[in-house]
């Protein structure tokens, strides 16, 4: 059986388990389902971060900005203009994408300079959310953000509904990432990593491609942020723009393998669920330290992350599977 066929079967089984098995098994356990939703929320941002890092070649420390802008845009549209929640969620992604346009000048920068510039941008958006009190509620935040509605008798506002929504967002984001990675665009983006000027002289508009990846990554992160706003029904600037929305997804993507499509998802589920269900009961204060040690061990012993380690194919040898 070919690798491609095996991978498709594995993906189909995983999706069946995720869409049917998990709601059946954990549907009655609001605590565990809530943790899985939180892990998938991190996974969504991790996929968006990995898309930008792996395909665009840019390390971002500012995804909290897109998360926050997406969540506020969606919440404000739903609360103040009465926009239906699902439409507001997509518009939240659009708002984050638009906010990323302000970051396009930073694409001239490379490596740590880009990372620092985008971190500064993120801080600007947090200040705006705090100061624009009439729209955002200021430091007090927004309460009673509309929850997801009931559609055809199914309540998307409860834990199971929220789980199915965020799962769908993550799956669509990963499939989009995979489609781009396999396209000629993905090939050109991969080609750009080591020698951008050499790609430009063969006709690749490298800055345009990087900009497209930044905007798409921001859109996905914004949709995830918007989902989170309607799921928890509360927002304030410190929470919506928390550095945690940057740090946890980065840790998840690196732990799972940011050069693979599903690595960030597996990484987010692994580190968040293991941390909350295993380490936290043992060490209620400082349980994140164990995560830190695990992440260091992963980087040292399997720099490609968990997915390449599980497939026993080092990243260098598995070039066709990676972007």
């Amino acid at each position: 059986m070919s690798n491609a066929l095996t991978n498709r079967i594995l993906l189909a089984v995983a999706l069946a388990v995720a869409y049917v098995g998990v709601p059946l098994v954990f549907g009655g356990n609001a605590y565990v389902l809530g943790l899985i939703v939180a892990a998938l929320t991190i996974a969504g941002v991790a996929v968006a971060w990995a898309l930008l890092g792996n395909l665009g070649g840019m390390v971002s420390f500012g995804h909290a900005a897109f998360f926050g802008v997406g969540s506020y845009t969606s919440a404000v549209l739903a609360m103040k203009l009465g926009v239906p929640v699902f439409a507001a969620m997509l518009l939240g992604g659009l708002g984050a994408a638009v906010s990323s346009i302000a970051m396009l000048p930073a694409l001239r920068l490379r490596g740590p300079y880009f990372a620092l510039a985008i971190l500064a941008y993120a801080h600007i958006f947090q200040i705006l959310a705090t100061e624009m009190t009439p729209v955002t509620g200021g430091a007090g935040g927004l309460l009673s953000i509309p929850r997801f509605p009931t559609v055809l008798g199914f309540d998307f506002g409860d834990k199971t509904g929220g789980y199915l929504i965020v799962l769908t967002i993550v799956v669509l984001a990963a499939l989009a990432y995979d489609a781009i990675r396999r396209s000629t665009w993905g090939l050109a983006l991969k080609a750009m990593h080591d020698t951008e000027v050499a790609t430009r002289v063969v006709g690749v508009p490298s800055t345009h491609l990087k900009a497209a990846m930044l905007v798409l990554s921001a859109f996905i992160t914004g949709v995830v942020g918007a989902f989170n706003a309607h799921f928890i029904s509360f927002l304030d600037p410190d929470y919506a723009f928390s550095s945690g929305w940057t740090v946890l997804p980065i840790a998840a993507a690196i732990f799972g393998g940011y050069r693979t499509v599903w690595g960030p998802v597996v990484g987010a589920l692994a580190i968040y669920l293991v941390d909350q269900l295993l380490f936290k009961p043992i060490l209620p204060h400082g349980h994140q330290m164990i995560l830190g040690v695990l992440l260091c061990a992963m980087i040292l012993f399997s720099p490609g992350g968990l997915m390449p380690a599980l497939s026993r194919r080092p990243v260098k040898e598995n070039r066709h599977a990676h972007a």
């Binding site: 000629t184 090939l187 050109a188 080609a191 020698t195 790609t199 002289v201 063969v202 006709g203 990676h322």
Partner: protein
């Protein structure tokens, strides 16, 4: 086809190109020679858009190149190689050519890719990692191949023969001649080996300290006292030897 008029490039206080003016006709092959630091690669960088000139005019088939980025110039038909090969990271040889063809020529034509692989003797290496699994000659051939995949009408080759041993150089020269004849390209070749230039190019330009000091047939140019002085510091070949 290509006209440069008074092109000047300054890097801070250094004038890398001083008032360079010349034209290249369709299908013409030109050798570009000069001592190290003469400005040869800078000239290629200006034509391909990697470096913006401080002053002067560049027109390609009636279009001014001055405000066009590199990728638009590639799509207009200007292909180039780099002196130090720059294969695309973690891509196969074929993928390198695919990227160049898709973006430079705006199409997917596997037949043309195979043809380029055959001409450059890279067919056996098509699925190898271009960064880690090629020898120097193959790296140089891939540089030419990427430029060819963009379907250029003007090909700028920066020392593609440098570092090759004699037999490899001869074989590579034959491939370049085959490329030129098959695709009817205009070519500008930077090369230090005078015999190679004389064999491939009926016209030679000599650059020294950023200035074009000679332009003519290889025979006339390499007997020019100023050219000899620029290379040897002497005015005649007899004195130099």
């Amino acid at each position: 086809m290509l006209t440069l008029d008074g092109v000047q490039v300054n890097f801070g206080g250094v004038q890398a190109l001083k008032c360079a003016s010349f034209s290249i006709a369709e299908g013409e092959s030109i050798g570009l020679v000069g001592p190290n630091g003469a400005g040869k690669t800078t000239l290629f960088n200006v034509i391909s858009g990697v470096v913006r000139p401080t002053a002067g005019r560049l027109d390609f088939r009636g279009t001014s190149l001055l405000k066009l980025p590199e990728w638009k110039r590639a799509r207009l038909g200007i292909g180039r190689s780099f002196q130090i090969p720059r294969p695309f990271g973690h891509c196969t040889v074929r993928e390198n050519l695919l990227v160049a063809q898709r973006f430079g020529a705006g199409k997917k034509d596997p037949g043309r890719i195979d043809e380029i692989l055959d001409i450059l003797n890279l067919r056996d290496k098509a699925d190898r990692d271009a960064t880690t699994e090629l020898a120097l000659t193959e790296h140089k051939a891939l540089e030419v191949g990427k430029a060819l995949a963009t379907e250029p009408s003007l090909l700028l080759l920066d020392e593609v023969l440098a570092g090759l041993e004699t037999s490899g150089k001869r074989a590579f020269m034959e491939r370049l001649a085959a490329v030129r004849d098959r695709y009817r390209l205009a070519m500008v070749i930077i090369e230090h080996d005078i015999a190679t230039i004389a064999a491939l190019c009926p016209r030679v330009l000599v650059l020294n300290f950023g200035q074009i000091i000679a332009d003519g047939s290889p025979d006339a140019v390499f007997r020019d006292p100023e050219v000899i002085r620029s290379y040897t510091g002497e005015t005649t070949l007899a004195e130099a030897s």
